[in-house]
Symmetry: C2
Subunit: 370 residues, 2 copies
């Protein structure tokens, strides 16, 4: 964990007045939780009494009442219902700014323009955070911490609306990023929507596979297919609203895929092996362009791997001693499998602490993996 002096606390929220959150799914609940913890008055409104009850129990806010006078309204409903609900909220609360969290922005803006809504008080938003598990049950106060929060103003958006959303995003620990609706949709087609579909198409190969083959699955398959567990109903709405940019990228991918298939089908022909190598090299070039974790500058921690006996209390004993040694733990991963007699604990520390930690742990008879 981090010892560094805390520069900004969630408890010093700059958001003023009441925030009204419409919808109590993953994002609504998470935003409500985080704002409530930060001392902001949150009122929750949702069509589902069960979701509302759960969100209230979580501490994500209080139930909306007719006398609420929110300054800011955050619409956290599925993409297809976002525009009508934003329009309804703009009309019902003429003194409030309204934002949303939908994964697509251009189509929602078009729909709103068609309603004649007061777009000066609307500013589109998209916190770049999600989980493959949705719903209030997965809500958590830190969901957007360290993530980009896209602020997608339209031509009429008032500056004060932009400021209100910037303040909210910052209060929640996210990083505001200004992107116009069409540019946003093109970007998320590339970094989110296409990866979702490709992961789903890849995972679909496994549906009828032999269980013995699947027993050989390693981390590569798990990583490439993790998001294939996402909610189809939600994602088909997103993809429908951003179909054209997604289709364009997929067409390029299909062309490359067909070349690779042709090369593999006649692998001894001149040029075939090089074609496969080229595809792999292009992948290298692409992945190298992804910025560090959470879109922030990559931070490199040193990793110290400790092998611990597979018995209760060993991990606690290790961490107690790491604390005694006085090294800050930045992150921790546990690798453990039912078959193995040992567990592997990856301790992520500041590179400056690495040598001393290894020396001290070795002195204390811990086994450091090479």
């Amino acid at each position: 964990m981090n010892n560094a002096p805390t520069q900004a606390k969630l408890s010093e929220a700059k958001t003023r007045g009441t925030v009204r959150v419409v919808g109590a799914g993953l994002l609504g609940t998470s935003i409500g939780l985080a704002l409530t913890k930060a001392g902001v008055d949150v009122v929750l409104d949702t069509q589902s009494p069960a979701s509302l009850a759960l969100a209230l129990e979580y501490g994500a806010g209080r139930a909306a009442t007719p006398s609420d006078t929110p300054n800011l309204i955050v619409v956290c409903v599925p993409p297809e219902t976002t525009a009508p609900i934003v329009a309804r909220e703009l009309a019902a609360f003429p003194g409030a700014f309204v934002t949303d969290v939908a994964s697509v922005k251009a189509e929602i803006l078009e729909q709103l323009q068609a309603t004649g809504a007061d777009l000066t008080r609307y500013v589109g938003g998209h916190p770049m955070a999600g989980r493959e598990r949705g719903g209030a049950i997965s809500g958590r106060a830190d969901l957007v911490v360290g993530r980009p929060w896209v602020i997608s103003a339209n031509a009429q958006t008032a500056a004060a609306a932009v400021t209100a959303l910037e303040t909210l995003a910052t209060d929640l620990g996210a990083t505001p990023v200004h992107v116009a609706p069409i540019e946003h949709d093109r970007a998320v087609a590339l970094v989110s929507h296409v990866p979702q579909l490709v992961s789903s198409l890849l995972a679909a190969r496994l549906a009828d596979a032999d269980g013995r083959d699947l027993a050989l699955a390693g981390q590569g398959l798990r990583d490439t297919t993790r998001i294939a567990a996402s909610d189809p109903a939600m994602w088909s709405q997103i993809l429908k609203a951003n179909a054209e940019p997604v289709a364009e990228i997929l067409e390029d991918l299909a062309a490359d895929l067909n070349e690779v298939i042709a090369a593999l089908a006649d692998i001894t022909a001149p040029g075939s092996a090089q074609e496969v190598t080229r595809a792999l090299e292009a992948g290298n070039a692409g992945v190298s362009r992804i910025p560090g974790k959470h879109g922030a500058t990559a931070t490199t921690y040193a990793t110290v791997v400790v092998m611990i006996d597979d018995r209760p209390g060993e991990l606690a004993r290790l961490l107690t001693e790491v604390g005694q040694i006085g090294v800050n733990l930045e992150d921790l991963k546990l690798e453990h499998s039912p078959e193995a007699q040992i567990g592997l604990v990856e301790l992520y520390v500041n590179p400056n602490s690495e040598a001393a930690l290894i020396a001290d742990l070795t002195l204390r008879k811990w086994r450091i993996a090479a």
Copy 2:
């Protein structure tokens, strides 16, 4: 962690005699390191003096000498050179069993059959472990711990050769799995080779992308493209040697991809949205079939998420109390970000223990995240 009595320790290796490791890349170095730690005499032979020097410095064994009399030889060289080097080793060491670690098995066996090598002493192998970073520099003694190690005997392989490889795999903490060469290649086409190519093709989309678009990248993109950083030279050899099974699966994927593209290109047409939903649902079905961590049988653990203050020692204190409560921790994940004042600790426990653990932790004033 598991309470089961410890059955075998790395320090009680059952492998007898000298093990000769040919090649000092990721796998050769890792196997040498682990065997040396377990007290086995390891001799290293490699064409590259630089790799040899590094592997020796790591403690992965001693340099090979003309007087070595290995019982077992592990050939850890790229796929294309595996068969000739296995044949050379079989001829040079008539008293030794020879295995390899290549990611393809059928073509290597065919090549060996063509050489007239003594196949009674050869048993194919494939430890299902790797990293996107290769080379001796990435070697680690725990590389294969908890992973399946495919043992791929041919029709002539002596039972004693199979036993020698089983013993080696078990000594290194891996789980031996018996799979015939052709079945192995079909299985890894599905769980490893196709995911590699798909990840590369997906990542290739990013090569010419706008940096501002990439700043919005989240965990989904990172997970789906992580293995696209793998070595193209190594992977093109693997794919070349397993081209047909890989091409077959990719053809199915291409057919599905084309249907999705057609649906997205005319998304308002009847049936288009359903086509996209079907693709996402097929992904759900596929990913649900991947067994639990490290290829073991899928076990569903309950997850208890505890919010801890971001200060040193809190995690150790929590785990100490979990130990006192007497609940077995099956796995643990720490979610922590530099900006947040709290860390989230996900405790994975047997579902039967969940309610009691939540009750006891709550009594002890730990905050359970909903």
